[in-house]
């Protein structure tokens, strides 16, 4: 069969939505593969990226295996592809699309132009995902570029929506992409000092079902320790559903950070202990890019001491507070810290400057604020409740699940009980 005939066949099959046949043709036809390998650029020109996306991507795959050529041209090619690819066809070859964007990400990071990749990747993600809460294999590449470009607000448009399902991409969606998404997400939120959200992201990364510990999870754990100290004042234990292998071995690998967590909660001289660790292991923290977080942990010790006092006292003088916390600057410095903490909502207190006294109070909720917050929380609960119902329904109809729970060992769908369930 001539090359032109083969190309025509691919084009026709793409237009007729015969996607499996396109893949079979490429697998079987050595002629097609050889001709494309000889001149991938010419092969790319044979296929329209919007109508014959599968042919285009398969030709692109051969091109990427050989040489990318001019990076500028490659960037233009990918920007155009992101705008026009046929979504259904692209979903059949998502692994090639993800690899193509991975190559683009690497090129742009190397050339120190990561900001140029944000638009094509964001466009591709928005077109490919089934809904904003679906994760695709392109998400981690986008976050990597956002971090590299220091454009963290661009990342928030993706990160602020909770991920509740994976875009169906067959066996090509690997765990690395999933772990990287949550690691980068936690990193970005920590950089923006949104520590609660960062902690959640690192926790998801660490609680991913695992048979072995990934290097990504090791780095995530180090940051998890530091962010946990900032949010909760102690190292929060990982949830019960964390994989056994993580729970058992990760602390041994990250000994320095556990040492820091222990020093943080000491009653006596935690500040000096952490400073000692910083002096001894400053280079290790720098290498892990955690030096800034460690310094923030150190600075937060004063605030932790003040927060502990709110649990014991209802009123306290500024002088007393400064002495108990150990502030060299005296009442002035205490007032300065209090103002910062009141502004951030970390404590609720009122200072009477005439008497030099502080009154610690419970959180004062204002009526309309309570209603708005309650409304929002309830809406979220209702949404997740509905979603869990749908997921439960879909799972109970899944043949694999039914087979397992029934324990019949049946491999066909002739079992009447299965038929009954599937007919629902």
């Amino acid at each position: 069969m001539s090359f032109e005939k083969l190309v025509n066949d691919v084009r026709t099959m793409c237009e007729q939505e015969k996607y499996r046949q396109v893949l079979e043709l490429f697998d079987k036809s050595k002629e097609l593969s050889l001709r494309i390998r000889d001149n991938p650029d010419a092969a790319l020109r044979q296929f329209n990226p919007s109508k014959h996306t599968m042919g285009y991507l398969l030709a692109l795959k051969f091109k990427l295996e050989m040489t990318i050529g001019d990076p500028e041209i490659y960037l233009q090619l990918m920007t155009q592809l992101a705008d026009v690819f046929h979504v259904e066809q692209a979903r059949n070859l998502i692994d090639i699309l993800a690899f193509a964007f991975h190559v683009l990400t690497s090129i742009l990071v190397e050339r120190k132009q990561p900001q140029r990749g944000l638009l094509p990747l964001l466009t591709a993600i928005r077109r490919l995902r089934e809904s904003p809460s679906h994760l695709t294999s392109l998400h981690p590449h986008y976050l990597c570029l956002c971090l590299s470009a220091k454009n963290l607000s661009a990342a928030l448009s993706i990160l602020d929506t909770d991920i509740i399902s994976l875009n169906y991409e067959g066996p090509s969606f690997d765990s690395r992409g999933f772990l990287l998404y949550f690691y980068y997400g936690g990193y970005i939120y920590a950089a923006l000092k949104k520590f609660s959200r960062a902690l959640y992201f690192f926790e998801v990364c660490l609680t991913t079902p695992s048979m072995a510990i990934s290097a990504i999870q090791v780095e995530a754990y180090k940051k998890y320790v530091l962010v946990s100290l900032l949010v909760h004042g102690k190292l929060r234990t990982l949830p019960k559903y964390t994989s056994h292998v993580i729970d058992r071995y990760i602390r041994n690998i990250t000994g320095l950070y556990n040492e820091l967590a222990t020093a943080y909660v000491r009653d006596k001289n935690p500040y000096q202990e952490i400073q000692k660790l910083l002096k001894l292991h400053g280079e290790d923290f720098q290498k892990d890019q955690n030096y800034g977080l460690v310094k923030q942990c150190l600075a937060s010790l004063v605030k932790r001491s003040i927060q502990r006092l709110t649990k014991t006292f209802v009123t306290l003088s500024l002088k007393d507070l400064s002495e108990r916390v150990g502030l060299d600057g005296g009442p002035r410095e205490a007032e300065h810290y209090l103002l910062q903490m009141i502004e951030a909502g970390e404590i609720h207190a009122s200072i009477d400057q005439t008497q030099g006294m502080i009154s610690f109070q419970d959180e004062q909720l204002i009526d309309s604020q309570i209603v708005v917050e309650l409304e929002s929380e309830l809406r979220d609960c209702m949404f997740f409740g509905e979603m869990l119902k749908v997921m439960n329904m879909n799972l109970s109809k899944d043949p694999k699940y039914v087979r397992k729970t029934k324990g019949t060992g049946s491999t066909t769908f002739d079992d009447p009980s299965i038929k009954e369930i599937l007919s629902v």
Partner: protein
């Protein structure tokens, strides 16, 4: 954009500017867009975003447009929480006319934030200390406290701030209230 800044619709303005930055093929925005973004981050006290914005603005932009550097100097004073220096920098810098609204709004927002903090944090504060926190002269601080309806003892110069009540927000209106409540009750019961 200027109209939205005047109306304090910062979220909208930032969304527009951030999209503009990504949509540009070079990945960079214009000086005006960077100024507006930086200004909005200062008005909304998002200093972390301001810091990352400054670090990604190309050096050539900073060199060719000293107004960006001036606004960054203002950012530094807010990061140091030095309100006196903030006001000095704002008044002593010669801002181009097209940024007059932006700089006015930044100053107003910072003043409002500090007065809100004072009303939350203090049950009694000396007017001189209030003036220091606001970066103003005591007479101006007195005027602000009068405007906000805070009582002041002229003899001792002690001001008693009052926490401003948030405006009542009507979450659901009219006939929908019953449907809304019924949905909630049904969900909670089941």
């Amino acid at each position: 954009l200027e109209e939205n800044i005047r109306k304090r619709q910062f979220k909208q303005v930032l969304q527009q500017c951030e999209e503009g930055e990504i949509l540009n093929p070079s990945g960079y925005a214009t000086t005006e867009v960077y100024m507006v973004m930086l200004g909005c981050y200062l008005a909304t006290d998002e200093l972390e975003h301001a810091k990352f914005l400054w670090s990604r603005i190309p050096e050539s932009f900073k060199k060719d447009n000293p107004v960006l550097g001036n606004l960054w100097n203002v950012t530094k004073t807010l990061k140091e929480r030095n309100i006196l220096k903030f006001r000095e920098t704002m008044t002593e810098t010669c801002w181009p006319d097209n940024y007059a609204t932006l700089t006015d709004v930044i100053t107003e927002c910072v003043t409002e934030r500090i007065t809100l903090l004072i009303s939350k944090a203090y049950s009694a504060i000396h007017v001189d200390h209030m003036a220091t926190l606001l970066g103003l002269k005591p007479e101006n601080a007195k005027a602000i406290s009068h405007k906000l309806g805070w009582s002041m003892d002229e003899g001792t110069g002690v001001v008693s701030p009052v926490l401003k009540r948030m405006e009542e927000v009507e979450v659901v209106k009219g006939k929908n209230i019953i449907e809304h409540l019924a949905n909630y009750v049904s969900f909670l019961e089941n």
